[in-house]
Each structure stands twice: as C-alpha cells, then as structure tokens.
Amino acid sequence: MTINEKQDELVEEFEFLSDWMDKYEHIIGEAKELPEMQEDLKQDKYIIKGCQSKVWLYPEYKDGKLYFKADSDAIISKGLVGLIVRVLSGYTPEEIQTADLYFIDKIGLKEHLSPTRSNGLLAMVKQIKLYALALSTANKVQQ
C-alpha cells in the first residue's frame, strides 16, 4: 500500500462521520489503539513542544525504511499523531520526504495543523520530514 492509498483509506473512514463529535470520538479511539510508547523513549530529545500539549516522536531506521513511534500527553493530539504515524511509518525516506499529506485537510482537521494551534502537530510533521530528508541525503552521499 502506498502512502496515498493509506491516506485515501483514512479519508473513507472519516467520510461517514459527519458530526464533529463522532469525528473526535474516532480520533480518541485511534489514540487508544496506538501502541504504548515505552516510557524510556519519552526523552527530551524526542519531545516536540507545543504551547498546550507535548508530542514525543521516536524514529527508527530499519532496512531502508523509516518507522515512527509517537505519543502525546493530550489524547486528541495523540489520536492525530497516531493517524500521521499510520500514514507515514514504514516507507523509505524519499517517499516520506515527498509525501503530500492531504488527508488531514480532507477529513476536516486542517485547523490542528495551523501554526497558531500550538499543539505540536505541525512541528511533528516538520520533524518527520526532516528525519526523512537527513536520511535520504545521507543515502545519496553513500551511493
């Protein structure tokens, strides 16, 4: 499955949730399903600080693919983080770096990625792209 196929799957999932409360119920469910991040990974170097909620993001690079573990102290942020991890985790740095994250807009949660929202999500997406960029640059140098 490509990144875009995963995004489309999510868009479909949310399509039937017209009420805001149902959408958030779903996001909270997503948060509860997100695998627990080990406490020892919640180090300061993996923290992405928002004004209101904190996000932890732990990257792993295995067999040419980038994997992410993430968590947040706020459950809605954690649910959104979970969605992003679901879409982007397990792809090559090149694929992640060039990915266009359109699903957030399509499911009506664009406001959470606005710079003024200060929940750490926008910074998290930037950080994911930065990891991908660093790794793909390193790969190119090796080649």
């Binding site: 805001w20 409360m21 909270i28 209101q52 706020a74 459950i75 929940n119």
Partner: protein, 417 residues
C-alpha cells in the same frame, strides 16, 4: 435598547439575560451551534454603543489631536480629553492629569517598570510580586532586575490560591521599592486583599502598582480609597476597544518619574542641546495615540455606569457560585483556585484528561473557553498541571450559558476519561 436602572434587576435575572441583545457578536452560530462565549477574561465582546461609536468617530471627527487648530482636530481633542476626565471620575482619581492612555495593561506595567529602573533603583533594592501574576506582571520586573541588579521577591500562595499574608509581611523590608500585584487573578479568580497589601507596603515606604486588568470590569475601583500609587487596566476586557488601556499614577509619582518614550506630544520644546518635557499627562504619551480607542473607551465606561458596577458585581457573583456548584457535580472535575473571594474566572482541571482535549471538544459544541496556562506558568507548576480549562464571565452571560457549559464539560469528560 437602552437600559433603565429600574429594569436592570429584571434584565440581569437568572432567566436569561437581555443585556445580551446589545452584543451582536454573541448572536451567532458556530459549527451549527449557538455560541456560548465564556472567554471574557481574555477579551469581552462589544456592545452596539461602542461599535456604533467607532464608526461615528471615523465618519465625523477623525483627525490628529493636540496639534491642529482646525475644527476636526479640536473636536477630536475635546473628545479625547473628555474621555480622560470620564476615566478619572470612573476610578475616582484626583484629576485627569493622573490618567495616562496606554496600549493596555502590559504597556502600563512596562512603562512603570522601565521608568522605575531609571529612577535610582540599585542592586541593594528589591521588587515584590505574587506567585499568581500574569506573565505581563512578572517579566517587566525581571527586566528591571536584570538592568539594575535588584532582587525579585515573590509572595507565596496556599492550595486555595490565596496569598500568604504573613509571608508577604516577612518580605517587606526597607529594600522594597515597589510592590506589583494583581487585584484579581486572571487564572484563579482570586480577589486579593488589595487595600491591606497597599497599606502594608506603604508602612515601609514602598510604592504599589495594582494590575486591575481582571478587576475593573467586575468591581468598583476607587484609587483614592485604595491609595495605590499606580493602577493599570485594559479597555478590551471592559467592553471597550482593543489596543487602548489606562495607567493611573499619583500625580507626585508621575511628576518624579522620567518619561517613558520620546517623541511628539511629550515635549514642550526641542533643540539639539536640550529638550524640555511636556507636563502631565502628555509627558507619558509620546506619538499619535490610539485616538479612536481612547475616545470610545469612554463609551464603554458609560455603558458600564448605566448598569452600575455594584449590580454587575452582584450578578456575576451569582453566576460564579452557580457555575461552581454546576461543575463540581461532574465526576473528575477539580476546581483550581478555591479562594473565598473570587470573581471573573473559574478554572478547573479534569482527572485523566488534558485541558487541550477538553477545549477542542467544547469548541466543537460552540462553547468558547480558554485552555492552557493563561500566561501564568508558575501557577501550573505550583499545582503540577499542564494547564486549566477556564470559564470566565461577563455581564451578558446567564445561567443558561453555564448550564450549556456544564453539559458540554460532562460530555467531554465522558468521551475522554
């Protein structure tokens, strides 16, 4: 709709609140739900009177003040100075020379802190603030301390969010040059025993600045009775325009202090050798001010006066206790700040739920509250919480708003915990 005083009690009854009709921005749907606005400690909505007056200013007398001899400039200057007089009366200042227009509370505090830092404060001196000050009443004093080497001393508080007066007394010694303290806490709603705080500071010869940003819209203020040396507040939190505020200062203090900013209007004569500063209040009003804001702050104050602050205080007290009872009944809700005397803000946390999550869900139910640290991070450290959910009240709120808030909160808690 004009308010007549005999109708006020009826208007402000618990069965809804017709004052609300005077605030057009409250009459709207957000996300398909009627707006419930409970973020009044951040800013209040504006009544038609103020909105219309803004338009009237720009369509009739807009011009620069204190400079022109022409008709419009005279008109604008008269209106600007009339507003100053109205504000002087509103807080019972000795005269209008004691009333300085600022951008808001933050600028007022920065002005006093900056002028004090250039008024003989040394590394032998100290400044006292309290543990629940807004960042705007912490940082300017830290800057003063950085500049002068003076020490910043902080009055501690108890679990209820009340200042420990014995500790305050212990901090008062002859090194203290100024005590800067809020009248009402923006996060906890605590009303400080401000008169006692001022009296004690005066006994050791310290000046006192009162941050009245969260008080002036809820309680009648009499600066002569309080005997404070400085008092600051903002227009936008009292139904007036944004970007305008007031610094009250005792005339003898304002005479003594050096000017804040240099520029037009604050001078008498300028030459490259020597500049002579203007008299009060103009000495502290460099440059073209927010003329429209200053003029229309009077309109907001007239609006408050028509209802009367005593009536407003009584009504809001009723709302506060109604809201406190309502939210206390929701399992998991903890009220942050249980001072005996409270007004304006009701802060709470929910066991097992982050305030951000509650804020997001309430927003989607059409309920506007503030979540986070409310620019008072030391309070959050004290209670070891990431933030609070804060509902804050104004004269147009009603128990119906509180009911909707409590229902929304209950629903959010059920979803999150």
């Amino acid at each position: 709709m004009e308010l007549k005083s005999e109708d006020v009690q009826e208007y402000l009854s618990y069965q809804g609140n017709p004052v609300r009709e005077q605030f057009p921005s409250l009459n709207q749907m957000v996300y398909g739900k009627p707006l419930i606005y409970l973020d009044n400690a951040a800013t209040t909505q504006k009544p038609w009177k103020v909105i219309n007056a803004v338009q009237e200013y720009y369509t009739t007398i807009n011009s620069n003040i204190h400079r022109g001899v022409h008709y419009l400039s005279q008109k604008a200057t008269d209106a600007y100075e009339l507003s100053r007089t109205t504000i002087a009366t509103f807080i019972n200042a000795k005269n209008s020379r004691e009333v300085i227009f600022t951008k808001g509370t933050t600028e007022g505090i920065n002005l006093v802190a900056d002028c004090f830092s250039r008024y003989g404060i040394t590394d032998k001196d100290s400044v006292i603030i309290s543990s629940f000050e807004h960042h705007s009443n912490i940082v300017p004093w830290q800057m003063l301390c950085d500049k002068t080497g003076a020490r910043l001393k902080v009055i501690p508080m108890n679990e209820d969010g009340e200042l420990l007066m014995d500790d305050y007394k212990a901090l008062l010694d002859d090194t203290v040059k100024i005590v800067a303290i809020s009248y009402v806490s923006n996060t906890l709603g605590t009303i400080n025993p401000i008169k006692e705080i001022i009296d004690l500071a005066h006994q050791i010869g310290s000046a006192v600045l009162v941050d009245a940003a969260q008080a002036v819209q809820h309680l009648a203020i009499d600066v002569k009775d309080l005997d404070c040396d400085f008092l600051v507040f903002s227009g936008h939190k009292m139904y007036g325009p944004t970007g305008i505020g007031i610094l009250y200062g005792k005339e003898e203090w304002l005479e003594k202090l050096p000017p804040y900013q240099g520029g037009g209007d604050m001078i008498k004569t300028v030459s490259f050798v020597k500049t002579e500063y203007n008299e009060l209040p103009f000495k502290f009003e460099a440059g073209t001010p927010h003329i429209e804001g200053a003029i229309n702050l009077k309109v907001a104050i007239d609006f408050i006066n028509e209802i009367g602050l005593e009536q407003i205080a009584a009504f809001e007290q009723g709302l506060m206790s109604y809201a406190t009872t309502a939210v206390q009944e929701i399992p998991g809700v903890n009220i942050i700040g249980r001072a005996k005397a409270k007004t304006g803000s009701l802060s709470l946390s929910v066991t097992g739920a982050h305030p951000y999550d509650i804020g997001v869900l309430l927003d989607k139910m059409g309920i506007a509250v503030r979540t986070g640290h409310h620019c008072t991070q030391p309070i959050m450290d004290f209670y070891c919480i990431p933030g609070t959910v804060r509902a804050s009240f104004a004269l147009y709120n009603s128990t119906l708003d509180v009911d909707r808030f409590a229902e929304g909160l209950k629903r959010a808690v059920n979803m999150l915990v």
